[in-house]
């Protein structure tokens, strides 16, 4: 792959990620609060990060989580770095898991995303405790678990049916066609 081609494919892929995260942020802040169930809402941004990490591996998962989390922290949060830390670690973990599981299965990828999202919630809880904020142990059951479950239920929709997966696949095909006939899917995931 020549340098300009590599940059072009990198840009297309990251444009997809950037737009997905921004779209998730806008939907999450404005429309998703109306979809709360017993006060719990799904974390659409984390779903996007999970999908991305499963598709592209630990490095991309880390960076996607970092970008999405920082955006969330800056626009909504009081503690800049809180969700960035949780999302990039969860994204990294999911990226590692993505290489070891049969991610083409909706059930397996959904289960993995659910575990990743729960890890994200536990990291946020631990950070809140570390900052001396009120985050009782019970919050793991009343806040973290329901949030992760709700997000996990929505993951197949985002992963298989909606934009993120389709766009990511499109970007990956574009990358592979730019890389030439000898390239493997693993190259795109690196």
């Amino acid at each position: 792959m020549t340098q300009p081609d590599w940059f072009a494919s990198l840009r297309s892929r990251h444009w997809v990620l950037g737009l997905s995260v921004l779209g998730a942020l806008l939907l999450q802040g404005a429309a998703f609060p109306h979809l709360t169930v017993f006060g719990t809402k799904p974390d659409l941004m984390m779903i996007v990060v999970a999908c991305w990490a499963l598709l592209y591996g630990p490095q991309e998962g880390f960076l996607a989580g970092l970008g999405a989390g920082l955006l969330q922290d800056v626009v909504f949060g009081q503690y800049v770095g809180l969700f960035a830390l949780a999302k990039c670690l969860a994204g990294f973990g999911l990226g590692v898991a993505g290489g070891k599981i049969f991610r083409e299965s909706v059930w397996v990828s959904t289960g993995a995303a659910g575990v990743g999202i729960l890890v994200h919630e536990v990291i946020v809880w631990a950070c809140l405790r570390g900052l001396g904020l009120p985050a009782p142990g019970l919050a793991l059951v009343t806040t973290a678990l329901p949030g992760a479950l709700y997000s996990m239920i929505l993951t197949p929709l985002v992963f298989r049916r909606f934009l993120v997966y389709r766009l990511a696949e499109w970007a990956r095909e574009k990358e592979m066609s730019a890389a030439g006939p000898g390239s493997s899917p693993g190259a795109a995931r690196r």
Binding site: V75, L85, C88, G147
Partner: protein, 281 residues
């Protein structure tokens, strides 16, 4: 050099994590105004969030209207009956108000300060399940400052925690970090009402006195003892009374008057300091 290039990704990741933890610590302290970058981003995103929010409310309102058609006739009749009852009540209130004014003058009280407020529209809510905050489309340019109380006709909503030029962030009463000085309206027993997270629809009011008189159905209002809320604002009603810590502390579970999930417009009280000093309106 080889060693560095071999582990540069790992080093970069570790450095990033350290920076994030440091940033968290630095920004944990509350500030009068949000950071410049944060301010710019909030200002840029808020209008788009406003469109999304309006669209979502429109769709939700349309669905609710369709669902409501069947019961509108009955509700109309019921409302007419209520309106007549309220007319009678209004007349009685006018009588009481006139009498109250007369008695105030008699005992030498002066009329307290009136509320001054800025109306604002909710444009976004925090996307996570850990904080209960919302973004409104009014900021420092409209006279809003940090720690101003936010209310609706249903009662206290929360307080302003971040302000930029055209947008502010409000911490809701249900946020785990929120607390408001509260009074049982009937017995005048004081306490602190605090949020239990977005998943719980109730506030927990810890009463200062062990023998405080509080019962189910009692009205809870702001006490004005803190530095944020003026006295007499409606918070909610007691739904349960509990004793904890071997019966030493009395708690009341309070259902807030405000439906936090359905908030679309709020009022920010801009003269709360004057109201606190004047003992409420």
């Amino acid at each position: 050099m080889n060693y560095f290039s071999r582990y540069r990704k790992f080093v970069a990741a570790v450095v990033t994590l350290v920076v994030l933890v440091a940033l968290m610590g630095v920004t944990a302290r509350e500030r009068e105004r949000v950071m410049l970058l944060k301010q710019a981003l909030i200002e840029a995103v808020a209008p788009v969030q406003g469109w999304f929010s309006a669209l979502a409310s429109g769709i939700r309102g349309g669905i609710a209207d369709l669902q409501a058609i069947g019961r509108l006739r009955d509700e109309n009749l019921e409302l007419r009956a209520k309106l007549e009852a309220y007319d009678a009540l209004l007349n009685r209130l006018r009588e009481t108000e006139t009498e109250n004014e007369r008695l105030r003058t008699l005992v030498g009280f002066t009329r307290s300060v009136e509320y001054e407020w800025v109306a604002a529209r909710v444009v976004a809510r925090n996307p996570d399940n850990w904080f209960s905050r919302l973004t409104i489309n009014r900021g420092s340019l409209h006279g809003i400052a940090k720690d101003m109380p936010v209310v609706t006709h249903q009662g206290v909503v929360g307080r302003v925690v971040e302000v930029s030029a055209n947008v502010s962030v409000v911490q809701l009463l249900t946020d785990r970090g929120s607390g408001v000085g509260a009074l049982v309206q009937l017995s005048r027993d004081a306490g602190i009402a605090s949020g239990q997270g977005a998943q719980s629809p109730f506030l927990s009011m810890m009463l200062f006195a062990r023998d405080a008189v509080v019962n189910e159905g009692d009205v809870i209002v702001t006490s004005g003892l803190g530095e944020i809320y003026p006295p007499g604002l409606y918070i909610g009603r007691v739904v349960e009374v509990r004793r904890e810590h071997y019966g030493l502390i009395k708690y009341a579970l309070v259902r807030p008057g405000v439906e936090f999930g359905r908030l679309e417009e709020v009022l920010v009280i801009t003269n709360s300091a004057a109201l606190r000093e004047g003992g409420g309106p």
